[in-house]
């Protein structure tokens, strides 16, 4: 690239960070930014150069209500998240002492039908935790290359241990899919697109020594995604 073009890119990155780019120029810049590492580095450099401007602003103590809302939104045990309805119903379910996976599945299916549209998923599975309650919801879409995992009430594990999710295809081949999240949502990439013949398993593994071929510990959960 010529020096003049380099300089243009650099100044455009500055204008982008400053916020003055508009219209076609902005759209073109953002398009380039997606896969141009050099440009991304230039944007980072301008963020650093201009960042001290924020020091000119006097700190202001925010009202306590902001933290209260934040705490609710980021804590897995608080009920302000969109799954609050599901959560309270699960409490009800647990109180009844029904622990069979099929029952959980049935109830969760009902509860989730309302959210099916915005999840955009067409099949799902409830992974039970160590208390035989719903630990995670795993959702997928037919012919799609990833799973959507939502932590509901994950198992309490000793430090350094994690729940690893596996998929077994119709030919009996095992694939590690990743670690189930401790809170929030996570997307796990699938080595092949989702089909109804796949089986899923969970094993408890050392976080630092995740196996890649097969579970090194016993399987603590097994199930299939069910169409909804």
């Amino acid at each position: 690239m010529k020096d003049s073009e380099n300089q243009d890119s650099n100044i455009h990155a500055g204008e982008y960070v400053l916020g003055t780019l508009q219209g076609v120029e902005l759209a073109e810049f953002e398009q380039r930014l997606l896969d141009d590492l050099q440009l991304q580095a230039e944007v980072d450099a301008w963020e650093r150069r201009l960042g001290p401007l924020m020091e000119t602003v006097e700190p202001v103590q925010p009202p306590a209500s902001v933290w209260q809302k934040l705490e609710q939104r980021t804590s897995p045990n608080k009920t302000a998240s969109p799954i609050s309805g599901l959560w309270s119903n699960l409490q009800f379910w647990r109180a009844l002492g029904m622990v069979a996976a099929t029952v959980v599945l049935g109830l969760a299916l009902t509860l989730f039908t309302a959210r099916q549209v915005d999840l955009g998923m067409d099949s799902m599975m409830v992974v039970l935790n160590d208390q035989s309650a719903a630990g995670w919801i795993v959702a997928a879409r037919h012919n799609q290359g990833y799973l959507n995992v939502k932590a509901v009430e994950p198992s309490n594990l000793p430090t350094g241990k994690v729940c690893q999710l596996w998929m077994e295809d119709e030919n009996g081949n095992l694939f590690p899919l990743g670690v189930l999240p401790h809170s929030g949502n996570k997307e796990l990439a699938m080595p092949v697109k989702h089909t109804t013949n796949q089986r899923f398993m969970v094993s408890i593994e050392e976080e630092e020594l995740l196996p890649t071929k097969k579970p090194s510990q016993e399987i603590v959960f097994e199930g299939r995604l069910t169409e909804i």
């Binding site: 916020g19 650093r48 000119t56």
Partner: protein, 194 residues
């Protein structure tokens, strides 16, 4: 004095180290670390978003969204790319600018009138830019720009105004605005990285 004194530098380094460790703990879903991080930084971040949005209700929403982003993206923080405070402030500023632009668009679309900007008479109080070596360097370089250039850069940075909007608000031809900003940025870069 060309640099902040040693004691301040040391305090800043300790604080940066603490913030970096807290972000690392947040990446592992440590709620207590998140509470501490909020306690240590929320006033700085709130100051910035309030400065950009100028309305408390919007700024409170924005601060909340910024911290949710910080919590969700803590694992993406790379200490070698930016100081923790710069990283968090950048998230807060971008969140505030997005919100401001969205509100501007909504107002324009709903009644066809221009969005009422809150007037900021002192867009860039440079005397505050003395808390860090980076700040002092930037101040020295900004001091070398023309007053108008400095003002434009400050208005753009804190109000997210595009070239067109800057031209309208300052009654300056669009071409002149673009040239001033361009030259201002070029001068700044040369001055900061000679």
């Amino acid at each position: 004095m060309s640099s902040v004194d040693n004691k301040t530098v040391e305090e800043k380094n300790i604080r940066n180290q603490q913030l970096t460790e807290l972000l690392a703990a947040c990446a592992l879903n440590d709620q207590k670390a998140f509470a501490r991080l909020y306690q240590m930084t929320s006033a700085n971040l709130y100051g910035v978003v309030l400065r950009i949005l100028n309305r408390e209700a919007w700024a409170e929403d924005c601060l909340q969204e910024a911290f949710v982003k910080i919590w969700n993206n803590a694992d993406r923080y790379r200490p070698y790319l930016a100081a923790p405070m710069t990283w968090m402030m950048t998230i807060a500023r971008n969140q505030a600018l997005d919100q401001l632009r969205r509100r501007r668009r909504e107002v324009m679309e709903s009644d066809g009138h221009a969005f009422r900007e809150e007037v900021d008479h002192d867009p860039l109080p440079l005397e505050n830019l003395t808390q860090s070596d980076e700040g002092i360097r930037l101040k020295t370089c900004l001091d070398q720009l023309k007053e108008k250039q400095r003002q434009m850069i400050a208005m753009a940075y804190f109000k997210g105004l595009t070239h067109d909007e800057l031209a309208n608000q300052t009654d300056t031809p669009l071409g002149t605005v673009k040239t001033w900003i361009r030259r201002g940025l070029e001068q700044l870069r040369r001055c900061l990285e000679p």
